[in-house]
C-alpha cells in the first residue's frame, strides 16, 4: 500500500488521525500568517503587535511558533483587529484545506488592511469604476474569456513542488 493510500485510510477510519491532521496544518499555517502580517505591518516587532492587540509579547511569540494551534477564536479576532483585516473561519473539504496549504506562501501572503480596502470602504465607487473600464468583478473581459477558455483539469491545484531542500543526516 502506498504512503498516500495509507494516509487516506487512516483519515477515513480514525477521528484522532483526522484531528491530528487538521491541527497540524492549522498549527503551521496560522502562525505563518501571523508572522507574515506582523512583519509587513506597522508593528514589525512582536512587542508592538502585543501592545496594539492588548496581549503579552510572550503570547505573540507563542502564537507564531509552529504547531501553536491552541488559539481561541477570540484571540484570532483580536489579532485580525490589530492588523485591521478580517478573518474567515469556515469548514471546508479536506481537499480545500490541502489546496490552501499548497498555495500558501509566507513570503507572498498579504492582506489589504482596512485603510486601503477600497471594496469595503466604497463598494459603489469600485463597482462604477469597474463598469466604466469594462471590468467584471475585478477581472477584465479579456481575462474572463481567457479563464473560460482554459481546458478543465489542466492544472492539478493540489500538486506542490517536491524539490526538497531538506536532507537527513545519518550515521553520526
Amino acid at each position: 500500500m502506498s504512503e498516500r493510500s495509507s494516509l487516506i485510510l487512516r483519515l477515513i477510519e480514525s477521528l484522532d488521525s483526522r484531528t491530528s491532521y487538521i491541527k497540524a496544518k492549522l498549527g503551521i499555517l496560522v502562525p505563518s500568517q501571523i508572522r507574515s502580517l506582523r512583519i509587513q505591518s506597522e508593528m514589525p516587532r512582536q512587542a508592538d503587535l502585543a501592545r496594539v492587540a492588548g496581549l503579552h509579547q510572550s503570547r505573540i511569540s507563542m502564537f507564531e511558533t509552529p504547531g501553536a494551534a491552541n488559539m481561541t477564536i477570540e484571540t484570532l479576532a483580536r489579532l485580525a483587529a490589530a492588523f485591521k483585516v478580517g478573518l474567515i473561519v469556515k469548514f471546508v473539504p479536506l481537499s480545500e484545506m490541502l489546496r490552501w496549504e499548497n498555495e500558501h506562501s509566507q513570503d507572498h501572503f498579504s492582506v489589504t488592511p482596512l485603510a486601503r480596502d477600497e471594496v469595503f470602504l466604497n463598494p459603489a465607487l469600485v463597482e462604477s469604476t469597474n463598469v466604466s473600464k469594462g471590468k467584471l468583478g475585478g477581472l477584465s473581459q479579456s481575462s474572463v474569456n481567457r479563464v473560460s477558455a482554459m481546458p478543465v483539469g489542466r492544472v492539478n491545484p493540489y500538486q506542490s513542488s517536491n524539490d526538497s531542500p531538506f536532507q537527513n543526516a545519518i550515521g553520526a
Binding site: 488521525s17 491530528s20 497540524a24 499548497n102 526538497s164 537527513n168
Partner: protein, 125 residues
Amino acid sequence: MANGHNLIEEWYQNDLSEEAQFTFDALLKNQRKVESVLNWNGFKYLKGKPKEERIWQLDFIADKRQYRLLGIFGVGRKNAVLILGCYHKGDNYTPRDALEMARKRAKAIREGKAELHEREIKSDS
C-alpha cells in the same frame, strides 16, 4: 560512524506521535517556500559552542510537547541538513546530551564522515 542509518527518519517513525509527524511534515512543507531562513518560524541559531559551529534550531509544538530540530546549512543555505530531533522542557533537552550529539554529527558531516539522505517533503497529494 556512517553506518547507513537514517537517524532523522528513525526519530520520525519511532519517537513522534501521529500529530507530531503531521506537524513536522507541514512545517517542512511551509519552510521550504520561505526564501530567507531568518523568516522561518521558530528558527534560531543556538548559543555558545553550537553557535560557533553554526548549528541552528527549529522549534515546533505538537501534542503539548516542545520539539526541537537541530540542523546546519549546506552550500548557500539552500540545503538544510537536519542532524537531530529532540524535545525540550524547562532548560533540558531530551535526550540530555542532544546538543553534544548535534555538535558531533555536524562535525562528522562537515568532515565528510557521515552520509546524507535527501528527505522527500510530503505533499499529501
